[in-house]
């Protein structure tokens, strides 16, 4: 027999002014099963909580209803209080008299009646509550960081410095990411590689960090604290242990005409290559699609040249399985390519570049060694036009969002160009200048005022080539939309920042949500910016949204702090609001008939198949089982189950039915 206590709170005037709390307490006293009902000014205060604890002991309560504010506000408070009095905390429920009643209705009998109804509903629910116990899961104290750009490097270093093991997985042959391609960085114009490469080396040398470059995540199973990740280590065709990185193979490789990804196609590389001289690890890979030996069966120059005999043509991809407790996603971004711009010639003109290509052109380690030469003929460009918002904020291009970094890097580009070509003319077409950030606007002003970059507010409708020049046609909206035509030698499109290729597939592999543009979705836009909706998977950098370097680094450290906090514990406890499949004695075993139609309803793949075996080992029945570590308690499976075999703790069929039948 239930012995329920009802505690009605006035919340000062908040409830008391519109609801007759005394009457609510009195009505509640007459509900069958209620043995104690009081009202008090502030239930959440110390004396208020004391009243609840006292009553539990004095009346031997088996359930508590606190009629006060929203459970989203004070449920933990009252459940703790109840637990302190020795009652299972999950035997306490709250009736929401404040947000759902007193604050939204006028003072009067109807409102008091509604308040009494709300209490009655919760009393009937709590009668069907079961004592529940937090779920404990162990934690594997090793993190997996996906993506070896600055976000991944920073996150890995911070986690490693906190004393935990990290595996840093990067899909290309070297860590470094986009930042390693940049020439100089805004707003300080310090050389990107000079500040990045020490961190790359640090990551490689850190005793807690294992680097896996030229590798990708194949599969992820498990749940927070207990993930099992399968990594595909792509075949470098090289024994990394033997290779000393001397580079002889690269020098002698006869295949030298392959467009160089690191230089964004502006340079060429060999078939056996390291992406750039400062690569970490400094171990080459063989690009089998372009290698003469792999294409024709003849060559093997690299094998002949290698002083340590490290070349392995027959090496295969290798699958490695890792137990990890947390993941940091730091897979970065890509930029829209110029071929997406029909109005600017479908990417056919070699002198129309995207921002990353310009970075390589301006970089001291780039294909021109930092000398301004336009790609078509190697001449020094005398007029360069920069187009901000190329593709961004443009619904027709499918990118309605702002790419965030372009205003700043366009100013930087124009500035770098002016520093290198003193007599050159730099023109920027822009929509707005968005330069929020420390020292950012000052930087843009410097470009305009000190470096004489001409800023034209307007869009460019067309670029075509005429008499060896690129004719850039636009409008100057500050001059009443007057047509502007500039004959340029080179055009740089600040193309949109987009989610990395394969983001959608990766998100689905990991069961994290993503936005319509395939950027990974944070758990809460303001309060949980580095968490995903999947516990134990965190976000860092531009895989979530366009970001600049300082923001990326800050977020990476944030994600690392979350991982470190998770790893500070040996065990995790989770709310026991999870689904459970009922179990019965033989021969029924469970109401579950094993149709598993609930399986696809589960957003977390938490429903497994369990074989119930007889003494002889034969399978008697296959039924569903919920992995409590994976289950997040949405209850979609419950509504799907025809036999009512599956139910959810805390919101069980009996509880909800009892609530409904009270109305």
């Amino acid at each position: 027999m239930s012995r329920i206590g009802v505690f009605t709170c006035h919340c000062g005037e908040n409830i008391g002014a519109t609801v007759d709390c005394g009457k609510v307490a009195e009505c509640s006293r007459s509900i069958p099963g209620v043995v104690h009902s009081v009202d008090y000014k502030y239930m959440c205060s110390d004396p208020g909580q004391g009243m609840i604890k006292e009553a539990i002991k004095e009346h031997g309560l088996t359930g508590v209803v606190v009629a006060a504010c929203s459970p989203r506000m004070h449920e933990p408070t009252f459940r703790n209080a109840v637990a302190e009095a020795g009652l299972n905390p999950y035997l306490c429920e709250m009736a929401n008299l404040r947000e759902h009643c007193s604050w939204v209705h006028e003072k009067g009998e109807v409102t008091t009646e509604k308040a009494a109804d709300l209490v009655r509903v919760m009393v009937e629910k709590v009668k069907h509550n079961q004592p529940l116990h937090p779920i404990r899961v162990p934690v594997t104290k090793r993190a997996l960081v996906l993506g070896g750009g600055i976000a991944g490097i920073q996150a890995a270093l911070d986690i490693a410095d906190a004393g935990h093991k990290v595996v840093l997985v990067e899909k290309s042959p070297s860590i470094g990411g986009h930042m390693s391609q940049l020439s100089e960085t805004f707003p300080t114009l310090d050389c990107s590689q000079c500040i990045l490469t020490p961190r790359m080396v640090e990551a490689a040398r850190h005793p807690n960090i294992t680097l896996m470059t030229y590798a990708e995540l194949e599969k992820l199973e498990g749940f927070i604290g207990n993930f099992k990740a399968t990594i595909r280590r792509k075949a470098r065709k090289l024994d990394e242990k033997l290779c000393t990185g001397c580079g002889l193979c690269i020098q002698k490789c006869p295949q030298k005409k392959i467009p160089d990804e690191f230089n964004e196609g502006l340079g060429q590389r060999t078939a056996i290559y390291v992406p750039f001289p400062q690569a970490v690890p400094n171990k080459p890979v063989i690009d089998t699609a372009n290698c003469t030996f792999f294409k024709s069966g003849k060559c093997k120059v690299c094998e002949k040249m290698c002083p340590t005999g490290a070349i392995r043509y027959d090496q295969e991809d290798e699958l490695v399985t890792l137990d990890v407790g947390a993941l940091v996603l730091a897979t970065g971004f890509k930029v829209m390519r110029t071929d997406k711009f029909p109005e600017y010639g479908y990417g056919q003109d070699p002198d129309i570049l995207d921002g990353l290509q310009f970075e390589r052109l301006a970089s001291a380690s780039g294909p021109t060694l930092g000398v301004m030469k336009r790609p078509s003929d190697g001449k020094e460009p005398e007029t360069v036009v920069f187009l901000a918002c190329s593709g961004s904020r443009d619904r027709a291009k499918g990118v309605p969002y702002c790419s965030k970094i372009c205003c700043m890097y366009t100013a930087k580009h124009a500035m770098l160009y002016r520093h290198k070509v003193h007599h050159g003319k730099a023109v920027v077409f822009y929509m707005d200048i968005r330069s929020g950030g420390k020292d950012y606007d000052e930087f843009v002003r410097r470009a305009i005022e000190e470096d004489d970059v001409q800023y034209v507010r307007g869009r460019v409708s067309k670029i075509h080539r005429e008499d060896g020049k690129l004719v850039v046609k636009g409008a100057d909206t500050l001059q009443g939309g007057a047509p502007v035509e500039i004959r340029a030698d080179m055009v740089v499109l600040a193309t949109a920042v987009q989610s990395q290729d394969g983001s959608e597939e990766l998100a689905q592999k990991l069961h994290v949500s993503y936005d319509p543009y395939h950027f990974f979705a944070e758990s809460h836009p303001k309060l949980k910016p580095v968490e995903t909706n999947t516990a134990g998977i965190f976000l860092a950098g531009a895989c979530q949204a366009p970001r600049d370097i300082p923001e990326t680094v800050a977020q990476a450290s944030g994600a690392a702090a979350k991982v470190a906090a998770l790893f500070a514990r040996d065990e995790l406890t989770r709310e026991p609001v999870v689904a459970v499949v009922n179990r019965l004695p033989a021969p029924t075993f469970s109401y579950c008939v094993g149709c598993f139609l609930c399986q696809s309803a589960c957003p977390y793949q938490a429903i497994e198949q369990e074989e119930i075996k007889g003494r002889d080992g034969s399978v008697l029945k296959v039924v569903a089982r919920v992995n409590a570590g994976l289950c997040q308690g949405c209850g979609t499976c419950v509504a799907t189950c025809r036999t009512k075999a599956i139910d959810i703790q805390g919101f069980s069929n009996e509880q909800i039915y009892a609530e409904l039948m009270t109305l």
Binding site: T588, Y591, V593, G594, C595, F596, L597, C598, Q599, S600, A601, V622, T636, T640, R642, T643, K644, A645, N653, E654, Y657, A658
Partner: protein
């Protein structure tokens, strides 16, 4: 090869433990037959009168215990067989479907793929009388439909013949049997009857192969099958899939498309 000869071979060779088919019953009727001995295979018949969906027997414990069986199957039986495979109630290797052509020739369909292929050429079509009644209901006002069903369901005695006849009603523990909480009242009164039939229809949405056996089983002649048909047609119209078309069919109500159209949601 005809049904009897083939059945005899299958039983003699031990390829199957039983042939589930039809035989002549009393007064010129037809009844299901479970032939376990080759000698009795001669009793098997297959003609237009053989409408009962024999797939309903496949999930019975007694049949499951037999081992591999051959199943004399009309198209709806085959659909039910595929749906049962999709719902993991029947294993591909446990059933050999025997489709009988009008001339008596037997086609053996040993795999799900073979069944799917066989069915792919026969489009599912509702019977003219069912279509007519559905159209009539569709043309009614809401109030008329309410009155129609109230009148029909007032005859329901909750004998569960419809549930027993249905190949998809294999749940050991039906929602109707659930008493904690007692979702649906046990007694056969207006509320319980409506709730029972709506639950059944919803539970068949996306799963019903539209064989109509539930309606034929009803002793008081309620067109109970139309409720399931309606749900099934709703699933087909909105999500573009039919139950019993593939042994790997995803359940329409536990899958989704983000762009499912939501005209009525505010």
């Amino acid at each position: 090869m005809d049904l009897t000869t083939r059945s005899r071979e299958l039983l003699e060779g031990g390829a199957v433990k039983a042939v589930i088919g039809y035989e002549a019953g009393r007064r010129g009727g037809i009844r299901p037959a479970f032939v376990k001995e080759a000698a009795k295979a001669a009793a098997l018949v297959f003609d237009g009168r053989c409408t009962q969906n024999l797939a309903a027997y496949l999930t019975r414990r007694e049949v499951k215990r037999m081992g591999r069986v051959a199943l004399v199957a009309a198209p709806d039986t085959l659909r039910a067989l595929l749906q049962l495979m999709a719902e993991r109630q029947v294993k591909e290797e446990d059933v050999l479907a025997l489709a009988v052509a009008p001339d008596g020739a037997v086609t053996e369909l040993p795999t799900a793929a073979a069944v799917e292929e066989h069915l792919a050429v026969t489009a599912k079509e509702l019977k003219a009388e069912d279509r007519a009644l559905l159209a009539r209901l569709d043309a009614m006002t809401r109030e008329e439909r309410w009155a129609f069903w109230q009148k029909e369901l007032s005859r329901c005695v909750k004998c569960y013949a419809c549930r027993n006849a249905c190949p998809m009603c294999y749940c050991g523990h039906c929602t109707m049997d659930c008493n904690r909480p007692q979702w649906v009242p046990v007694a056969s009164h207006a509320l319980g009857n409506l709730e029972y039939h709506m639950v059944r229809a919803m539970h068949l949405a996306g799963r019903c192969v539209e064989c109509g056996d539930c309606g034929r089983a009803c002793p008081v002649g309620i067109p109970v099958h139309l409720m399931a048909f309606h749900c099934q047609e709703s699933v087909h119209a909105q999500f573009g899939q039919r139950a019993g078309t593939s042994a790997k069919l995803d359940y329409a109500l536990s899958t989704f498309r983000p762009d499912d159209k939501e005209t009525f949601i505010r």
